[in-house]
């Protein structure tokens, strides 16, 4: 018996029969079909039909803009945009009637872990008194959904926050002072729906770039890690979602999304906007972006990634927050040390005068975790050869980041990205894991030279069965060591 079944002629799995005439197939089909029939209850069927009708009535979704364009448009037009879609689902699980205490208050909300690190003065609103229950408990999912939507539409920020905290338990870190949005759209379930899923789109006024960042930050504070990508979908399609079901990387958790927002929010801005911005990194490792030109002054705090312990700009002799003069780009780079900033057109302190800059004026400042003294020393060391090399590496990473993963699906191997630039990065001493992190790949990058066969033995090139000669990207023969003519080989083998 071989791996497959054989028919009488010995050929494996030749046509000649159908599944419908096979007893096993019939038994399997009966069993699965029965289970499917039991799972497809009339209530579910009606609920699905109602939701599909509602979706059809709502029309097709608006086409998604590339994220850079969207963010740029956000800042330029200073308009109110819909920045997030909150999917309030599973008001209570399943089709069962909600328990009587489902709508009761849950008591004071403990701050989340991250919020607990911050001072109580910054977030006094986190410790809330018990929320009074609604006047009448909803008896059906549709009623509950209508209750929620009414609460959202009234734009009572406090009530919304309490609702979210009570029912979703995911917004314990939101600051109500920064939530100024209005619900613009809500898709209600049908009256006979058995599921109280409500789709709510709420708009956050974007009057300043700081607000845009604050909005994105606020949205991220709403979400659980599992749902971060879903919330950001209306902003734009994440790169990993370009091939749904296949390329969603495991690393796409909230922090990655947060990094994505930071990167997008900062690099997508235009020069005049950047000129107004002020950046500060707090001792807690948060990057604070302030826009003093707006009224009231916009201020956003973005939590960094990596292990950035204590970095302050003042430690490097910068009495004032960094000013980005003359426009340019600010790029956050993820490195093995945590995070780096690539500034162009920045007013650098004298200690950094020797930091190498590209002809375009891009300077990369490595921010080494540690105490302030270590930071100062690291900046002083920026003039050394090692720091130059490090800066070169960062620039290379920046070049990769600028290209990937926007242009290349993250699951593609490195050779599909760009062999030459990978080789260049390797030559600069960049570790494969670092390069992989910069590229958004999960595995360390295998560089082309690892795949090349050894060329030490010239005879091997001429031996039968030897690999074909390498060719470069243009299809020309590689200029490596040439194999000797076959006739010139020594007779002795």
């Amino acid at each position: 018996m071989t791996m497959h079944d054989h028919d009488e002629s010995g050929r494996p799995f030749q046509p000649g029969g159908t599944a419908s005439s096979d007893p096993i197939a019939t038994a399997v089909a009966t069993a699965v079909s029965r289970r499917a029939g039991a799972a497809l209850t009339p209530e579910r069927r009606r609920g699905l039909e109602a939701r599909l009708r509602a979706e059809h009535a709502a029309g097709p979704a608006a086409p998604r803009l590339p994220r850079r364009r969207l963010w740029a448009a956000t800042v330029a037009s200073a308009a109110t945009i819909t920045v997030a879609m909150l999917v309030v689902s599973a008001w209570w699980p399943g089709d069962a009637q909600p328990p009587a205490d489902q709508m009761r208050p849950v008591g004071p909300i403990e701050p989340a872990t991250d919020a607990a690190e911050e001072s109580a003065e910054s977030w006094p609103e986190l410790l809330l008194p018990p929320v009074p229950p609604p006047e009448t408990d909803p008896t059906t999912p549709a009623e509950a959904a209508a209750h929620l939507i009414a609460a959202l539409r009234c734009a009572d920020v406090d009530r919304f926050r309490r609702l979210v905290i009570r029912d979703l338990r995911m917004a314990a870190r939101i600051s109500p002072a920064r939530f100024t949005g209005r619900v613009v759209d809500a898709v209600e379930p049908a009256a006979d729906a058995t599921d109280a899923a409500v789709t709510v789109r709420w708009a956050i006024p974007v009057d300043a770039p700081g607000d845009a960042v604050a909005a994105a930050d606020m949205v991220l504070r709403f979400v659980r890690e599992d749902d971060a990508w879903r919330l950001l979908e209306p902003i734009d399609q994440l790169p990993a979602r370009a091939d749904p079901g296949r390329s969603l990387p495991r690393s796409l958790h909230a922090r990655a999304v947060r990094r994505w927002v930071i990167d997008t929010a900062v690099t997508g801005l235009d020069a005049p906007t950047l000129a107004r911005w002020r950046l500060r990194i707090s001792p807690a490792g948060e990057i604070e972006i302030a826009d003093p030109g707006s009224e009231p002054p916009a201020r956003a705090r973005l939590r960094t990634i990596g292990t950035l312990d204590a970095v302050t700009w003042s430690a490097a002799g910068w009495d004032e927050p960094v000013g980005i003069d003359g426009g340019g780009t600010v790029r956050f780079l993820r490195t093995r040390h945590g995070i780096s900033l690539a500034l162009r057109g920045a007013s650098l302190p004298p200690a950094l005068a020797d930091v190498p800059a590209t002809p375009a004026g891009v300077v990369t400042l490595p921010l080494i975790p540690g105490d302030q003294r270590a930071v100062v020393e690291s900046f002083v060391r920026a003039a050394t050869c090692q720091a130059r090399r490090h800066a070169a590496q960062q620039l290379l990473l920046g070049a990769f980041r600028a290209r990937s993963p926007r242009d290349d699906p993250p699951h593609q191997p490195a050779d599909a990205v760009d062999r030459r630039r990978v080789a260049l990065a390797r030559a600069a001493g960049l570790a494969g894991s670092v390069l992989a992190a910069g590229l958004g790949l999960r595995k360390p990058v295998a560089t082309p030279h690892r795949r090349r066969p050894a060329l030490r033995c010239r005879r091997r090139q001429a031996c039968p069965g030897a690999p074909a000669r390498l060719r470069d990207r243009a299809g020309r023969r590689d200029s490596g060591p040439r194999a000797p003519d076959r006739k010139s080989l020594p007779l002795r083998r």
């Binding site: 197939a25 038994a27 089909a29 069993a31």
Partner: protein, 187 residues
């Protein structure tokens, strides 16, 4: 494209639900609810995109949705989770006269299917319930046709082995013969 009329939608959803059930696994711990969630979310996605309302598209949406969920929860279901497990669902050997009756024991067949690996389950349901050919299954699941045939072969043998009573197989193979299941072969 509007959603199909209720009758067509019912047929479509039922087919999709069978496939989703094959993906999520045995009926325990609310798996059927999970299968229903898969189907419902896939239907909503199709509706948001405006169609097409086609079983192939629905299957692919369900599968993508399922893989999304798997990755999101960092679960690994496509492993041989039940391969080495004891088989609590198999009844003790029955008398010879009951062999034919086992064909109609849907519960037994259902438990035998549930004990397959997820990949085997997916393939055999697509083949048995939806009537897809091996090549069509390969196109849908992203596997090669040979892999699909292997999975199908092992799934059928797995079911047959679990339904074996005193050496007989439900497909009528000889008692003492170790020959493979000579039934209708998939295309």
């Amino acid at each position: 494209m509007p959603p199909p009329d209720p009758h067509d939608l019912h047929i479509l959803v039922r087919l999709g639900l069978g496939y989703a059930i094959a993906l999520v696994g045995p009926d325990a711990g609310g798996r059927d609810d999970e299968a229903w969630d898969l189907v419902q979310e896939a239907c909503l996605r199709i509706a948001q995109r405006g169609g097409p309302w086609h079983i192939g598209y629905l299957r692919q949406a369900i599968r993508s949705n399922f893989i999304d969920r798997l990755r999101r929860s960092s679960r690994r279901r496509f492993e041989r989770e039940a391969a080495d497990a004891d088989d609590p669902g198999i009844d003790p050997p029955a008398p010879q006269a009951d062999i034919a009756a086992r064909l109609a024991e849907v519960d037994l067949v259902e438990r035998a299917v549930a004990l397959l690996t997820p990949a085997q389950r997916e393939v055999i349901v697509l083949w048995a319930l939806d009537g897809l050919t091996a090549q069509e299954i390969a196109d849908l699941t992203g596997r090669s046709r040979g892999t699909v045939l292997t999975l199908l072969h092992r799934a059928r043998h797995g079911i047959a082995a679990r339904l074996t009573v005193d050496g007989d197989r439900i497909d009528g193979g000889a008692t003492e013969s170790p020959a493979p299941v000579h039934t209708q072969t998939p295309r």
